[in-house]
Symmetry: C3
Subunit: 244 residues, 3 copies
């Protein structure tokens, strides 16, 4: 089991992403480890997504390194040979939603105050094409088109109805249920399951691999724009005010 | 707001399509206009689709010009940077369904007498590949495959269940609801929303752009066949009889 | 109508597949025959799928011939110009599910003891890419990903909920319903319906045609592995024990 614990909100900073990728790599190479449950130790939040401070007022080199780390995490998680189960015990916007969607199965606490979605558009930014590809693979084209354009954060019951999460359980049963799902998936012969997973996900993984440098360039150019920097600063101000 | 008003049934004639495309272009270039609601001023009909008289007993040049106008309208509408909401206040077969499907959001009057669908197969003709691509993007492959083969016209409640329309409301609330949806979509920052829309629709738009002349040729060859001309004449006779 | 009758379980042996393909070809060339209902004369089983004895302890030449016959059957059935309706009157795992999915419409007896699905992963083998493509076309990417990885056999009510079958009817009404559905589909003009079907299925059919020899090679290499032979032998032992 892998527990996200990066107070206050498990935001995906460069450091966090790097550690996450290294942990995944270690587990992947550990033949005794066949599956991983991803959850959060923090109350009410699974992961708040990409750390906006990493995108604000930093150098081109920093943006480049940061974005490569985001890509790396996703390539490892979405392409993992292990069984990956997300136990979503809190809200999970943007990059947090990406982490959950990249797992094989998503169980969410049935609390309607918890929401999940790719809300980038709300911040004036655009989800990268591979966030979109992952999203389309989970919920289909139409739901993805609407949800991405509106930057929707779906409360747990709605997320379940849309197929964005596979199952809702009472919060106190979440880990028990995740363990049961893991046991069910681990009952399958590894080799056949892994090849099947690769068959389903390869096209989308390959697309990022083929366009990785271009995608970094796009991100760096985009995030370096003064208008985007301004949006992000305003968003951070708003978050600070909300907290206090 | 754009109101279709071309009695008796808002059929998409060459003239109508040309005006529609010009209006869209003007609105697109008008920075004050960020969204458009498309509806009909006629009772019971949103749009009856392509005008069959344009396909019957005319010259190759006419067919060519007509089909290019159909393509042009779709390229502009499906690729519009504006928020596009269809307020479907009546039946909407074939090309009428295409117009609705090309918008960002579809609200339909919950009258089960109103139906919507790509019913080309019923007339012995085949929906072009880009009608099909648009349809698949909205309802998915399986529903599209069955519905296209049967040329189904889905009553409003069924269309809603299939995801062909997003929402049903009582007829008298239709415009009010459309305005509310528009306000919701316009609350998003334009730039991020537009780029997201482009990301979702580009592949399908590009496919027609790449095969535009070939698609015109196919249409002209198909519609020029004596057997198709006969089918269309019979269909028009039937419509005339039904009216009287 | 085509009735599978190959006791005890309609398994798709080389002989059965060859006869099936020849029958399809004959019907296809018979202009009086515009549609075919596929069902089973055996109780409780529609088809048990590929005959495992054909994959066990045989020569490379035999595996090659067998796999080519599986491909041939699917290319003919999925690409058929006829209306094809599956009247699924019993369980339908693996290749049996492929047969049903390749038809235009699936009606299943609403007996929850009957199940259907691509359960290859349970046997330690991987469904070929064109089984997967067919599956994705029917149920979409997400359901296919989960179901294929788990090798799920879905009881009839669940299969219906997932969209894997179109309709459930009481077992005694199955043939009556299949005939009614056939009549509905045959009411459409053949030519438009056939072109529409081709438009929907061509991409997936072409993909196998383009990779046919490679796919045979993959199958032969895979099935020749000692580990796979062992799995298959164990599975056959288990089936034998279950029977006695």
């Amino acid at each position: 089991m892998m527990k996200f614990k990066s107070p206050p909100v498990n935001s995906l900073s460069l450091e966090f992403l790097t550690e996450f990728s290294i942990s995944l790599e270690k587990l992947e190479n550990n033949r005794a480890c066949r599956g991983v449950i991803i959850t959060s130790t923090l109350p009410k939040i699974f992961s708040s997504g990409l750390d906006i401070t990493e995108m604000c007022g930093k150098s081109v080199e920093h943006y480049t390194e940061f974005w490569r780390a985001v890509q790396e995490m996703w390539l490892r998680l979405y392409g993992s040979n292990m069984v990956t189960v997300a136990a979503v015990n809190g809200s999970s916007p943007a990059g947090g939603c990406l982490v959950a969607m990249s797992c094989d199965y998503r169980i969410m606490a049935e609390n309607p105050k918890f929401s999940i979605g790719l809300n980038e558009a709300q911040l004036g930014i655009v989800a990268p094409f591979w966030f979109k590809d992952t999203f389309v693979n989970v919920v289909g084209h139409r739901i993805a088109e609407r949800s991405l354009q509106l930057g929707s954060l779906h409360p747990a019951p709605e997320a379940h109805k849309l197929g964005l999460v596979d199952e809702l359980v009472p919060e106190e049963k979440l880990m028990e249920k995740a363990a049961a799902v893991m046991a069910q998936w681990l009952a399958l012969p590894d080799h056949a399951r892994q090849l099947t997973k690769t068959m389903m996900r390869k096209a989308v993984l390959d697309r990022l691999v083929a366009h990785r440098e271009e995608d970094i360039k796009n991100f760096v150019t985009f995030v370096s724009k003064e208008s985007i920097q301004k949006s992000l600063r305003m968003y951070m101000e708003m978050l600070k005010k909300r907290k206090s």
